[in-house]
């Protein structure tokens, strides 16, 4: 080795502390050193000449530069070595400035010793340095720009102008970003949209810019120059046929805070953010399915009809409620309403009274006329056995598919358990009959008094020409318990009692009734007993109060009617004498652990018995199938009390015979589950007869919307409307309907409590209204893979959430706004057409206070430490605009320090002062809202130290800037670092301000930090220039300082792969698995080398030998 050592004085920065003469002498004595020089600035042309001369005259093959940190001038000397053909790893650096003279300026002796060691180490390292290979990589001449604000658009246009293909991905519905929402811009006070509009248009029509709006970048993989990008396109639910007429928005019942206007106005679920949006197509804000819709077994858009009811549109609401469910009136009365259990509003206070609203819709929104018969398209007649909710629903669905369906019902009336299992005081007969009539009006034939197995059989149905049979026979007998005394007079069964009563018989119950059971049927039997003449009804069940199985409505209404309930009792014997029952003997019990079906068996408590006396005992402990239909139905098997079916096809063991409802249950035995089963059965029959899967048997569910706890916090608790009922005791003697329904006023107020948690309610009003047939609810999110050479991140900022500063009253007080909201109010295209109207009363505010540094320059846990850079001039701009439009306005700006650097900014500040805006240096502790809507501002004047309380009409908070959610998301996807407040960290704050830690990824605009519009544009163009310079040659060389794996040493443990922050390392598969480093991606950080347990991975320029040689001199 022939090495040179070049010592730099750094203009005195080094030589002022370290005596370079003795250091040079020492360097000359080191092994391999053949030349030593000292220069004032080694990085200058003289320094380069010195090196060239030494290489030429002394035959150097390596050299040491002892100067500043290699982060500053490392590339300079590496380039010199490369140009002198010394190779890629011929220079070692000794940092005797930052590492020595700077930190030991007051102790030169120690600095001298340290400098000797540093130079010795660098020379020792040279002995182990060998040339490093570099590779040529070809680059894709296309760039991904993430974010369509002013920075993203500027970068995209600049790139496109050089012939580079640009993919511009925007998360929002339109490009334009924050600037599109501004009124005017400082200091020139020109219209923001007027400046922006040409750029919007230019971007839209530029053939080299491929716009992906309403899209997210979800993955970026591969090496710089050939990044593979996954773009997820979210559905707009409005296709390209949209002509922008706005008819859809006119009928949309959902109003939501308009995010484009920062909440100072409302918009509909289908909307376009602003008139000249790009793209101009409307879109539907649809987060998924509301929890109510997801929970409903038939997936009724409860949200849809609730939203329509809130607007008083009852007929449309009925259309939504009845579309999947032919029994909206029934379900509005007796449904178990799991929709309410899941309702998001329940996480704020109480769930929306969805069932009550549905009942109102059915009672007041259903058309008076019956529907016309539907045309029959298919020749195959279909038989449905059982005219309950499952069978009748299947019949309606099949009629809608185009089949002729015939329903065979064993009883003399249709409706199944709805008709003969639910007492009239809960479900009036005419209500049910009205909905049955709507089904038969469609062309469904109903044959009552026809019992399967007796009057006909499944075999005879096929023989009569039916091509498929749907069995929905229900569970029409009570279960018994194996206890003594059941055959005594006075022992009744609930199902049979209720049926007898419903069919017009006058069943007799005694005066004192004991009902065994605690579910809805038990309550129905007990309450029916009252109406049949009982004076006293006691329910006894095995469950305790907390696990009682009846619905809350039954329990509450039972209480009102003075049904007495005894819990935790297991019946052991019916008491009586002479064949006449006189009561029930129970044993106390607890409930055991649930079995695989969730049922908890009773565990008797030894020796604890209770006797309840009564002249009538009614058993309501479950229902059972009446399996007489199996005669003449070979292949239809009843097992464990249920007809066996394939859940995917709903088909029984016999081809062409399907089953559903309580008799073939796949969930709880409820009416709504039976209706769902009917829908599934009809689809299954349709698929079977057509020989292909035309419709899914089970609904394809969309994602359920879940609102985070934090977003529910601000909602004001509101009481749920309570439905009026008949008087509790008086009604025991009447069959009149107990629950009286909501009044119109109550139902609309109750519906207005809905949080619109999915935004779009799926009411489909827009589908009907759209003249261009552009609404498409079948759109799905889809992924697109694109390849780009470079990436520019321009995802912008978001306004600090001023709600975090609770004492300032933002969002609590109507007249406390942020500057962004004020910008919308002052904008000619804003909700007030540029008129300043305070939100509480629409009056023009006269006294206005603007508070600076809200969430900025704030060391508390709820704020940010940084200065947001634009707020002083943002407030100044708005003050100026207001003063010019409303000269009488008195505006005070409470500031921490006024910061107005930048061209013409200080002048503008002075101008606005001269316009009469008052600037007060002060901090606000609290803002109070007075009853007239005015605001009391408590301010500490930090100039005078005095405190004051002043009244204002409007307060505007200059909320600071934070990295947007999109910025934080893209940082995660791209693998770049973020700094405080969520801004993306640049590679070097001074020397590489638009580069990121990842090669080929650049950043600009407020994603990098707070800045104004011209600075964002300048930075965007700088980022574009960086991308252009990278891609202009069409190829690039990989860096020398990258990691490499020695296959012979690697054990394939994968530690390096897991540790690499750049995802540059992959593990090969198979027995000889080993790691492979992609030099295109590797940034030479060395983490993998440090983590590698065997030393297989070595970092170029920092091999173990090099580092140890330097460190152990």
């Amino acid at each position: 080795m022939r090495a040179g050592v070049f010592l730099c004085e750094c203009g005195g920065n080094i030589s002022g502390v370290v005596d370079l003469g003795p250091l040079a002498e020492h360097a000359r004595s080191l092994d391999g050193v053949v030349a030593v020089s000292i220069n004032q600035f080694m990085c200058g042309t003289e320094g380069r000449a010195l090196i060239e001369k030494a290489v030429e005259e002394r035959g150097l093959d390596h050299f040491v530069i002892a100067s500043c940190s290699p982060r500053f001038q490392g590339p300079t000397f590496e380039r010199i070595a490369r140009e002198l053909r010394l190779g890629e790893n011929a220079v070692a650096f000794g940092n005797i400035r930052e590492g020595c003279s700077y930190v030991h300026a007051q102790e030169p002796e120690r600095a001298q010793v340290k400098a000797r060691k540093i130079v010795e180490g660098a020379v020792a390292r040279l002995h182990h340095m060998s040339d490093l290979p570099r590779q040529r990589t070809f680059l894709s001449r296309s760039v991904l720009v993430v974010g369509g604000g002013i920075a993203g658009m500027s970068a995209a246009e600049e790139l496109a102008a050089t012939g580079i293909e640009v993919h511009l991905v925007e998360r929002q519905q339109s490009i334009g970003g924050y600037m599109a929402r501004l009124s005017k811009t400082f200091p020139t006070e020109d219209c923001a949209m007027c400046s922006l509009a040409p750029r919007l248009t230019g971007t839209a029509i530029n053939s080299r810019i491929h716009l992906h709006a309403l899209s997210d970048v979800t993955a970026i993989t591969g090496p710089p120059g050939e990044f593979s990008v996954t773009v997820r396109h979210r559905p707009r639910y409005v296709n390209e046929k949209c002509v922008g007429c706005g008819e859809c928005a006119a009928v949309c019942p959902v109003t939501y805070p308009n995010d484009f206007d920062f909440g100072v106005s409302e918009r509909t679920a289908v909307h376009r953010p602003f008139a000249n949006a790009v793209p101009a197509t409307f879109a539907i804000d649809r987060k998924g399915w509301s929890p109510c819709k997801t929970a409903c077994p038939v997936h009724t858009s409860a949200h849809g009809y609730v939203a329509l009811v809130a607007k008083g549109r009852y007929e449309e609401a009925w259309r939504v409620a009845s579309e999947p469910n032919p029994f909206p009136s029934v379900c509005g009365r007796i449904c178990t309403h799991v929709c309410e259990t899941e309702c998001t509003r329940g996480n704020v206070d109480d769930p929306i009274a969805i069932a009550g609203i549905k009942r109102f819709v059915a009672d007041h929104g259903a058309p008076a006329e019956l529907p016309a018969p539907l045309p029959v398209f298919y020749d195959e007649p279909i038989a449905i056995v059982g005219g309950g909710p499952a069978g009748l629903t299947a019949a309606r669905e099949l009629a809608q598919f185009g089949y002729k369906a015939t329903v065979f019902e064993a009883l003399p009336v249709a409706g199944g358990m709805l008709r003969v299992g639910i007492p009239e005081y809960r479900l009036p007969r005419d209500v049910l009959q009205g909905e049955v009539d709507r089904i038969t009006a469609l062309g469904v034939e109903l044959k009552t008094g026809q019992r399967c197995g007796t009057d006909f059989t499944v075999d005879s149905l096929f023989a009569d020409g039916y091509k498929a049979v749907f069995m929905a026979t229900g569970l029409h007998q009570s279960k018994d318990l194996p206890i003594p005394g059941l055959d005594q007079e006075g022992v009744l069964r609930a199902v049979e009692l209720l049926r007898a009563q419903a069919l017009g018989e006058q069943p007799s119950t005694g005066k004192r009734v004991v009902v065994v059971g605690g579910g809805d049927v038990a309550y129905d039997a007990g309450r029916t007993a009252f109406r049949c003449g009982a004076d006293e009804v006691t329910l006894a069940c095995i469950e305790d109060e907390r696990t009682a199985p009846a619905s809350s409505e039954e329990i509450e209404e039972g209480k009102q009617e003075q049904v007495h309930v005894e819990y935790s009792l297991l019946p052991v014997e019916i008491l009586g004498s002479g064949g006449i029952a006189s009561g029930v003997k129970f044993q106390r019990c607890t409930l055991g652990a649930p079995n695989e079906r969730g049922w908890r068996p009773p565990l008797p408590v030894e020796g604890e018995y209770v006797e309840l006396s009564g002249d009538t005992v009614i058993f309501a402990v479950g229902q059972a199938i009446v399996a007489d239909f199996t005669a003449g139905a070979e292949g239809v098997v009843v097992e464990r009390g249920q007809i066996g079916v394939d859940p995917d096809t709903m088909m029984t063991g016999r081809r062409g015979v399907f089953a559903g409802g309580d008799a073939a249950a796949m969930g709880p035995w409820t009416a709504i589950e039976a209706i769902a089963a009917g829908r599934r059965g009809a689809r299954a029959v349709h698929n079977f007869l057509r020989g292909e899967l035309l419709v899914p048997v089970w609904d394809s569910e969309a994602d359920k919307v879940k609102i985070p706890h934090t977003e529910l916090e601000p909602f004001e608790p509101q009481a749920r409307r309570i439905m009026k009922t008949l008087d509790g005791v008086a009604r025991r003697t009447t069959w009149e309907e107990v629950r009286l329904g909501f009044s119109e006023e109550d139902v609309r107020e109750e519906a207005a409590r809905c949080l619109d948690c999915a935004v779009c309610s799926d009411c489909k009003s827009c589908v009907t209204a759209c003249p261009a047939d552009a609404i498409d609810f079948d759109q799905k999110a889809w992924d697109e893979e694109i390849t780009v050479g470079a990436v520019i991140l321009a995802t912008g900022h978001q306004e600090f959430d001023a709600m975090r500063k609770l004492p300032l009253g933002y969002s609590r007080f109507r007249n406390v706004l942020t500057q962004s909201q004020l910008a919308r109010l002052l904008s000619a295209s804003g909700p007030t057409a540029g008129e300043l109207k305070r939100p509480s009363d629409g009056e023009v505010p006269r006294r206005i206070f603007m508070l600076q540094c809200v969430g900025s320059r704030d060391c508390t846990s709820s704020g940010n430490e940084h200065c947001s850079a634009i707020c002083c001039l943002f407030a100044t701009l708005h003050s100026s605009l207001i003063k010019q439009h409303y000269p009488d306005a008195e505006i005070t700006i409470g500031y921490t320090d006024m910061r107005t650097p930048g061209k013409a900014h200080e002048e503008y500040y002075r101008l606005v002062q001269e316009r009469g805006v008052r600037y007060v240096r002060g901090r606000v502790g609290e803002i109070l809202e007075e009853q007239d809507g005015s605001l009391t501002v408590r301010l500490e004047n930090t100039m005078t130290g005095s405190k004051s309380e002043e009244a204002y009409d409007l307060v505007v908070l200059s909320a600071g800037l934070e990295g947007s959610k999109g910025t934080q998301d893209i940082a995660r996807v791209a693998g770049v670092q973020t700094a405080a407040a969520g801004f993306i960290r640049e590679l070097h704050p001074k020397l590489a301000p638009v580069d990121t830690q990842r090669t080929g990824m650049f950043l600009c605009g407020t994603a990098q930090g707070p800045k104004n519009i011209p600075d964002s544009i300048a930075q965007a163009k700088a980022a574009a220039a960086r991308a252009i310079s990278m891609l202009s040659t069409g190829f690039a060389m990989t860096p020398a300082q990258v990691a490499a794996s020695d296959v012979s040493v690697c054990i394939g443990c994968g530690v390096c792969e897991a540790s690499c922050p750049q995802t540059a390392i992959v593990l090969t598969l198979g027995a000889d698995a080993h790691s492979v480093v992609d030099p295109n991606i590797c940034r030479g950080c060395g983490i993998c080398a440090a983590e590698c347990p065997t030393g297989a991975i070595q970092l170029g320029g920092f091999s173990d030998d090099e580092v140890l040689a330097e460190a152990t001199v």
């Binding site: 907390r546 916090e713 601000p714 004001e716 609770l806 004492p807 609590r812 109507r814 109070l928 809202e929």
Partner: protein, 321 residues
């Protein structure tokens, strides 16, 4: 708009091991607060004890400059030892001063030299505040324990409070001394109101001057009465504007300031403050059907609470369902 409300996150239920930390102010001024709390614990099924070895927290003495901090810390350390040894290490404070001073002592006792200094004294009575004690004892305002059981509230309501407008007076020594440890939002403490929502109350949430203290200021009530009462009056005025029916308290010192002096301030100012002051446990117990005298101890109040009790049906047996 009008987002005056914050929602408090759920916390794990405390089933057992609770020491009801008796408060001298509660015992002397509003014993019904303690009896209501015991009554509520029984309804919620929370196992608790009252330890006769527990002594006063001495917070009043310390904050009134009558007592050095070392004494207060020593007493706090002793009380911690007592409850841990009794295997009821969850201290349930009725008073926010007890809560804050014991937590402050907890932090001081984490400093080795102060702990050593304290243990030098405790050693004389055979006790030591060591890592076992420090790691076992838990300091909780009673509201934190009750909030853990709030899911049970709807099933326990026996007397509806429909239409009763309640506002919370957030105790400074709970919300401001350890703001990061406050349950929910320390700037808009909502737990008392949220506990009562199932009874049908109308909540106030944030209101003007909510964060303003009660005015008591320990000895300030006596040495600077005009300042003390001025602060109280300002708050009373704002609550009157809100048309509240009950200001719900969580600290006996605040409770004293408002209940004992409301009528006095009213007489002096000529203003009406037509609402009553109840500790949250008292109002919750009333909603659960408790007897106004035997459990809630309403007879120790200075204000006339009778009209309110009649309004909620607490004077008629039929109202209790």
């Amino acid at each position: 708009m009008a987002k005056n409300f914050t929602k408090t996150p759920d916390v794990p239920r405390t089933e057992k091991g609770v020491t009801l930390f008796r408060s001298c102010l509660v015992s002397a001024e509003y014993p019904g607060v303690e009896s209501s709390t015991k009554w509520l614990f029984e309804r919620f099924g929370i196992e608790y004890t009252v330890n006769p070895d527990q002594t006063c927290c001495t917070g009043l003495g310390y904050y009134s400059d009558l007592m050095p901090i070392q004494t207060t810390v020593g007493i706090a350390a002793r009380n911690a030892c007592v409850v841990v040894d009794d295997e009821h290490p969850v201290m349930s404070y009725l008073c926010s001063t007890c809560y804050a001073i014991n937590k402050k002592a907890r932090n001081i006792l984490d400093v080795p030299e102060y702990r050593a200094e304290t243990n030098a004294v405790l050693g004389k009575i055979g006790r030591e505040y060591d890592d076992r004690i420090a790691g076992t004892v838990q300091h909780k305002h009673t509201l934190e324990i009750l909030w853990g059981a709030h899911d049970s509230v709807p099933g326990l309501i026996r007397r509806r409070l429909d239409g009763i407008k309640v506002a919370t007076h957030p105790a400074c020594h709970y919300c401001k001394v350890f703001p990061d440890e406050t349950l929910g939002n320390n700037e808009n403490f909502m737990v008392p109101e949220e506990m009562l929502i199932p009874a049908g109350v109308v909540c106030t949430g944030a209101y003007n001057e909510k964060q303003t203290h009660c005015g008591a200021g320990f000895r300030q009530r006596f040495v600077n009465p005009s300042i003390s009462m001025g602060v109280t009056q300002k708050k009373l005025q704002r609550l009157a504007e809100e048309k509240v029916d009950v200001l719900v308290h969580m600290c006996p010192n605040c409770h004293v300031q408002f209940d004992r002096f409301s009528d006095i301030i009213s007489a002096g100012s000529g203003e009406e403050y037509p609402f009553v002051h109840l500790h949250v446990q008292q109002l919750l117990a009333l909603a659960f059907g408790a007897d106004p005298e035997k459990v809630v101890g309403i007879q120790s109040h200075s204000q006339d609470v009778e009209p309110f009790l009649e309004r909620i049906g607490a004077r008629t047996k039929e109202a209790v369902r």
